[in-house]
Every structure is written in C-alpha cells, then in structure tokens.
Symmetry: C2
Subunit: 272 residues, 2 copies
Amino acid sequence: MRRSERIVAVTKILTDQPYKLISLNYFTERFNAAKSTISEDLSIIKKVFSVEKMGKIETVSGAAGGVRFIPDRGVKDIQNVIDELCECLSDSTRILPGGYLYMTDLIFNPALMDKVGEIFATKFSDLGAEYIITMETKGIPIALMAARALNLPLVSIRRSSRVTEGSVVSINYVTGSSRKIQQMSLSRRALPEGSKVIIIDDFMKAGGTAKGMLDLMAEFKAEVLDIGVLVETAQPTDKLVEDYTSLVVLENIDDFKEEIIVRPSSWVTNLK
Amino acid sequence: MRRSERIVAVTKILTDQPYKLISLNYFTERFNAAKSTISEDLSIIKKVFSVEKMGKIETVSGAAGGVRFIPDRGVKDIQNVIDELCECLSDSTRILPGGYLYMTDLIFNPALMDKVGEIFATKFSDLGAEYIITMETKGIPIALMAARALNLPLVSIRRSSRVTEGSVVSINYVTGSSRKIQQMSLSRRALPEGSKVIIIDDFMKAGGTAKGMLDLMAEFKAEVLDIGVLVETAQPTDKLVEDYTSLVVLENIDDFKEEIIVRPSSWVTNLK
C-alpha cells in the first residue's frame, strides 16, 4: 500500500472511534508496515487536522500507549454552528400555543446534534468524566452525540420506572417554573456509586429539572463535574443551579408580535 | 498541500457527513487544487474504502452532482458486531426479576449503537426513505444512529403528548404480550403527510407496539418501507406485523437455570 492509500484508511479508523486509544501495533499489523512508517503517517494526519481545525490527534507513549482522535471544534466553527442554530430557532412559525418554542425537529436532526455533541465534547474534554447523564426524552439525542464524541457511556434518567430496568432509585422534584411535583428515577445498575459525571440536557428554564438531577446524582454519590444545556431561557435570571454552560439563550417569545429572540450564550461569544 | 495531506482532509470531510453530496468545487476551492487533482484523490479514497470495506464513495455526475460517503458495513463486520452483541446479551446477570432482560446499558452505549445504526443503514440504504421513525425512549439511540448514517431526520413517537409539541395525533393500541391499552402520539408538524419512512425500534415481542406505529403512520398517510428491530423474541412466532428485520433473536430466558439464549437473526447469518 502506498502512503496516500494507507493514510486514508488510518484517518478513517481513527476518526471512527473518538478518544479510543489504538496501538501502533494495530496499524503496523493491519497494513504490514514499519512502525516508523506509521509514525510518519500519523504526524501527517496530526498536522492536517491541526491546520484544518478538524480535531486533535493525541499520541500516548508507553506500553499501554497508542494514538487517538479527539474531536475538537475550532472557535469559528462553534460560533457558525450556534449562529445557524439561532437562525433556525428564531423562525416565528416555531411559536406554539401557550408561548412555547417548538424545537423537537432540531433536537432529532442527527447531523445538527452531531455538531452540538462535538461542541459539548470540546468544552468538557479535560474533566475526566466517566458517564454522561441526561433526562428522557429530548435530552437523549444531544447527550448521546456528546457521549459518542467523548467515547463515554450515556445514562438516561427516566420520568417513570419500568420493569425492564430492575431496582431503581426514585426522587420527587419540583419543576422550577410550573411548580409541579414530578418524579424521576434511575436504575441502580445503570450507574456505579461514586462515578464522575457530566449532565447534558436540552432546555433549562428555572433549573428545577437540573436541580432534581443533581439530587438524584447525590443518591448515587456521583460527582457532577459540569452541566451542559442546549437552550436556556433568559428569565428567570436566578436559576436553581449555579454552574452550567448553555449554548443558546432564549431571550423572549412574543406570541402577539410573532417574534422569537434567541442569541448565542456568553460562553459561545466569548470563545477565543 | 501535498496529496498525502489533502487526502486526509478530504477523507475526514466525506466521512463526517454520510450521504451528504459535496460538490467537487467545494474541494477545489478549499484546497486550491485542480478538478483533475481532486478527482484522483477521490478515486484513491474510493479504492481504499472498497478494499478495506470501510463504506462506499459514490460520485454523482451532472450540474447538481458531487461526491458522497455511504456507510456500508461488510458482511464479516456485521456478523462480528452481532456476535459480540449476542455474547454481551447472554450474560446471565442481565436477568431481571420477572424474567426480563436488562439491555439499557447496551442501548445507551454510543460506540455500539453507532455500529448498529450503520448496520441498519447498510440494510435500508436503497429504499429511498425520507424519515426514520422510532418510539421513545429506548428506540431513540438506535434510530438516531441509523438516521445519522442515512443522513435522514429522526421522528420520535411519544407515549404521552406534551405542550411543547403543538397539536398531536394520538392513537390507542394494545400491547401484544400483556394486552394493555396504551397511547402513542405524534406532533402533526413532526412528519409531513405522505412521507416515506422506516421504523426502527429496540425490541419486539408480539409486535403490538410496531402495529400501533403502523396505524399511527397510516394517520399521517406515510408509506412504511420497512421495520428494523434490534432484538426480537422467538416467542410468539406469530407477530402482529409481518415484514420486519431483526438483528438478534432472544430464544429464551430461564430465570431458574440463570440462562439467556440469544442468537443472530437469520438475516444476519444468511448475509453473503
């Protein structure tokens, strides 16, 4: 195999499995090539990814070492994705009766959620998380794509317990905005005690659901490293949780003027 | 840029966006290269993908033409993934009280579901579907990854309607095994009338849920091209739906002997 051919295959193998450490031996055996040859291939890929802002190629030395692809979206790229998302969200036909915002189609758009997942993966790359936690239903696509980009298992909290989950831990929580008492539950075997986790969800208004998720994580003695939400509302400014990162801020929905005002979050605009 | 460098970037761009048609002009402009040069790059990538069974590179000619990556898993690869999945599923600690099978961890494992999604994409590639349809909650990860691999939007049916969905169509259905009446609903705006769809779900026992989904699709005048399920039970052999493709067959769960018997489906074993 010539370099230009082998390098295509190596690129595909690396990017197919984000964060997965692949030994140099795997490549030398699969392509019947010398270690030095594969090393040169890898440094070309590394250089191209760096110049073209396509992510990082990380080499881990030592016996258990190898090489891996780390999704890492550039600042401009992140800002473009979020600008595009804000434009979609500000379409006034998204206003539902009661002043709600229809965003289900965007949340179930795999190409868009792939990008959003990689943005969260870029933000949370250095925290050493072991699990991504979300809440059914609409949190799942975003969290799954983030978990994919971080090569972590996803754990989805449920609104009701089911027979196919085994023994569960349930808590009651109060939704922050409508003050309703609701229940959330998680299978005991879904999350080992003492895990390090990141919470990712689609929407935050007052933060009642996020607060409930923190309480449930405390039952599992989990350490919550950070919280990511796709869209937060500007009001109320006092949320029930303090530390979180949103990508988009929903400023206002004017049912009468048929106007939706959304903007990139300060985390997005302050990226450098 | 040298060929070995450019070809890395072109590979990444193509594989990042399955099924998305990218014009040759995009590549010539981005890499400041002649059309003939890019064409040579593409034929190298095409050849490598074919030899290494990494998917297809398809060229569409004409003014609206371009090139795209089509995920296409080889037979051996599909059989290996399903064998591995069967081995995981046959672990007797997965038996839950009542003789249920715990498979939530596998369904929320992004790396595994990525592969399963590509297997469904390989199976359903030529049908001309416009939407992937699933049922919350556990159908979502599988269906989302299949939708990603096919570059199609996902539409998730809900068990209860919510204010953030707008007007919905609801139907009652009878679960095939436990004979309970349940409700499923779908937002009117989630699916245009007359769409061509593929249904993907995690589990089929008697097929009551799948039958309900077919009925709901009829309300939307949708044409259901095929149904894919990750796991079907061997019993009952008479399902309420006729045409579907499963990947894994759950033969038996013996609560007393602590034994789970699963095997690849005949579609998987008959692949050539």
